[in-house]
Symmetry: C2
Subunit: 515 residues, 2 copies
């Protein structure tokens, strides 16, 4: 059995069944082996950032890693940006990166590079599989490293000669999957003690704390202890919609975030890290909590956050609290397509159990609260701040949850980084409706430019921010990638287009030109 | 004067006038300063790989670096793949990468990463500008590092607090540009001696040896010494067309390359490195020259290759040789659009002084020789083997040479990695005609799959190679990015579409569906 086949069988033995690939010559043995090893779904992407972003989305919904397959150092380089995002989302990903054969590397062929050095800054685990005899163990170690709770980035570099060498006696090694550590009773008691003794506390929940059960437990705690519940600005996966308590997030803008957190004397962290500003600005703090605010950790992201919240709720002898009823805003039947109109229309059109991908950025301030009262759904955000993950996340989520609808709320400027994801949606017939939130600018940057002191930006600065010359034709791009696409620029047109798109199976796209 | 303005003035003082940007918040001071500092043309790209690939194309035609502007570690990561290519093309590039302010970094905000570590594997020079007082010197050092002959990748990381701090007394520092070292007379004599004493030698010319004068001198040498002239497989810039000697390149396929180099007892390297296989294959050698073939260096890529060739020609007392007349194949007036038909049509349609970008990959075997007899032109190839640089190279070449037509011969699969480059062509009104060579597959990989032993690939393997399900609609994608696009699938239609495209100013695209 060749190394490539050993690797595929080892991935399967480790519980993996999905590979997101963009291969080249050095990966051809892996590709050839696909026809000999059943059970691995290998999905072609046109750009490596689609593969890594989709691996992120897949892991969030499947609760296990997908693998990527990338071509040498430059292929991996193209995937790094969304590996950064996946790492910040704390999900497991196993990267397979092809490498030249050992004897070829010293010749410095055109595609040669130091792949380990390229991988290391954005991977938690890196290894080159130098020998076919060790390959099954290398693969098991990679999967185990990726699955260390809550999830890590493991990069296994596969030299071509390891892939093409026969290693007949090498058997796949099963991987024992770690479960997240239980939070010790003493820590639960200490936090209960703190909450009993103090008013004005905040409970910041992230990670697995944002499941429906985690959010429920947090609200039991809040009611029992009189504290506030909130979540980080960006979250990998969150339960939302009627039947679920709405959870506010720390705002992006520093001044708003400081106001949001004002008055807190202590913050209990449950699967979250202390709230810090996204960027630094002159004369503004990095840490967003009030000076002197005490941080107490209930559960780290590596621990079982949901269980810790439930145990804390029990320790406080809290009682179930019915979620607040959120009334949906009326959806306008006509008029301009403002952000408010768009949010109301989307909230009313959403079907139960939809997976919502949110890379709405500047428009998310309106969209997020507006959808709290929609049908029950899950909300996935790009977690590392590197824009260009929305469409790939939608690909991965749809692959992991083929029976659920995916609605991708994608800002236009950000969507362009990885627009090639649309083709994989078409290729695989994924049930994804993409709404492009088209304001024809990197709109976040208007505000950011003002914050750094450029109050009346001139042509030179504006040219780096505006995308209206020429305007991007998203329906044309979508059709070019095989996805049916349309455009709407008023409320009635958008409502109709969205309703049609959500009713149709398979991928489609609506460009919503915001008034 | 704020740091951002000092940096812009320092770039200008170093002879730089073009910046290819995709900025974010941490770069807003740089952006705001654009309106205060005249002379810097800042061009927006929708993806960082377009910026770095365009910087490569710019440097090749302008003979000086452009700068890029990228947003933190993940933005730089997106640009790395084409930095790899630029590095292999041995051109100067100055990257400016924004970074969080010093006091913000320890808080591990979502976009934090180790930017120096991300930059290092594909940069020749990396520095973080920690202080506004040293910024002008840092910038001058970056430019000097990039301009070390023949050209290097310099990455200057600009923390936001360096950009926003006032450094009133800091003046830009002019950069003394190094010229390539002259090859010493003794080495010229030694090579002349070798060539006089031996038949069966090869003269392999690369870098600045592929200018018209360099190629002429090489052919004078060849005639005087009875040796063969050839070039590496991939070259940054080469003079071609009638009036210029045609130069064969070392073939991509190992067996063909070995046949091509068969019989050589010695190879003189002029601006080139020894020919090695692109990839390793089982049972095949990495070094392509015959066993025992002696390598002798006339000039390294860092030295003045053209001058060395001219001096060697003089030392051999060679005489001018008229270039071989190459007859163009007749362009078929009708029939299927085969590769031969396409090559003949393009060769006849080419106008004098065109810059041809060649990322034709598997189809290049036919295109390259067919165009030897076309009107005089220059030929630029992606040099590092990482596909997805053709369209960005076209952007950069067009920016550097606004009065020349650029013809981009772009394979379809490769073009998809950085298709966002089309928008920058539209935005800047660049005179680029793109011909998409559409075979709806990563066609190189068919052969590569066979070479690794998969003779009858099954569905699983083919699905990783074929791009026909669904077929990519390049004209639709082009129109979505603001570039007029059409499709041709027979010889007559292609001839007409190409002629129309080359006559029109500004960007356009023809998808040539190959029979």
């Amino acid at each position: 059995m060749l190394g490539a086949e050993i690797l595929l069988r080892s991935l399967a033995a480790g519980g993996m069944d999905t590979c997101l690939g963009n291969p080249g010559t050095s990966e051809m043995h892996f590709i050839a082996a696909l026809d000999r090893v059943p059970g691995m779904r290998c999905v072609l992407t046109l750009f490596e950032g689609v593969a890594t972003g989709a691996a992120d989305g897949y892991a969030r919904m499947a609760d296990r890693p997908a693998s990527t397959l990338m071509h040498l150092g430059p292929g991996l380089a193209n995937g790094l940006c969304n590996l950064h995002n996946a790492r910040r989302a704390r999900v497991p990903v196993v990267n397979i990166v092809g490498e030249h054969a050992e004897h070829h590397r010293r010749h410095d062929a055109p595609l040669h590079s130091d792949i380990e050095a390229i991988a290391r800054p954005l991977s938690d685990w890196v290894r080159t599989a130098h020998s076919v005899q060790l390959l099954a163990q290398d693969c098991a170690d990679a999967i185990a490293a990726a699955c260390a709770p809550p999830g890590r980035i493991a990069t296994l570099i596969l030299p071509a000669d390891t892939a093409w060498t026969d290693g007949a006696d090498v058997a796949p090694i099963p991987v024992a999957r770690q479960t997240p550590a239980r939070v010790p009773h003493a820590r639960i008691e200490a936090v209960a003690q703190l909450l009993r003794s103090r008013r004005g506390a905040g409970l910041m929940i992230g990670g697995s704390g944002l499941s429906q059960r985690g959010i429920e437990a947090a609200h039991v705690i809040a009611a029992a202890a009189g504290c506030r519940v909130f979540a980080p600005m960006s979250n990998a996966r969150m339960s939302r919609g009627w039947g679920c308590h709405p959870v506010s997030r720390v705002p992006f803008a520093v001044d708003e975030a400081i106001r949001f957190l004002d008055g807190l004397e202590s913050v209990v962290l449950a699967g979250a890290t202390p709230p810090v500003a996204f960027f630094a600005y002159p004369e503004k703090p990095s840490l967003l909590t009030p000076p002197g605010c005490e941080m107490q950790t209930l559960a780290t992201p590596e621990e079982n956050v949901q269980e810790a919240l439930e145990n804390l709720a029990a320790a406080l002898e809290g009682r179930p609290v019915a979620p607040k009823q959120i009334k949906l805003a009326p959806a306008p039947a006509s008029g301009p397509l403002t952000v408010d109109a768009l949010a109301a229309i989307v909230a009313r059109a959403l079907r139960e159990d939809t997976i919502v991908i949110d890379e709405s950025l500047s428009l998310g301030l309106t969209l997020y609260p507006a959808m709290a009262g929609a049908a029950p759904h899950e909300w996935l955000q790009m977690a590392g701040g590197a824009t260009g993950e929305g469409l790939p996340l939608a690909v991965g989520a749809a692959l992991a949850a083929p029976r659920r609808k995916v609605l991708c709320l994608q800002a236009d400027g950000s969507g362009l980084y990885t627009c090639q994801a649309l083709w994989t949606m078409a290729r695989e017939g994924l049930d994804v409706t993409t709404v492009i939130l088209s304001n024809r600018a990197y709109a976040t940057l208007y505000g950011e430019l003002a914050k750094v002191g450029a109050k009346n930006p001139g042509r030179g600065a504006l040219d780096m921010i505006q995308l209206d010359r020429p305007a991007i034709g998203w329906p044309e791009i979508a059709r070019g990638f095989g996805v049916p696409g349309g455009r709407a620029d008023d409320a009635a047109g958008f409502a109709q287009a969205l309703s049609r798109a959500l009713s149709a199976p398979g991928p489609n796209l609506v460009e919503a030109v915001i008034a």
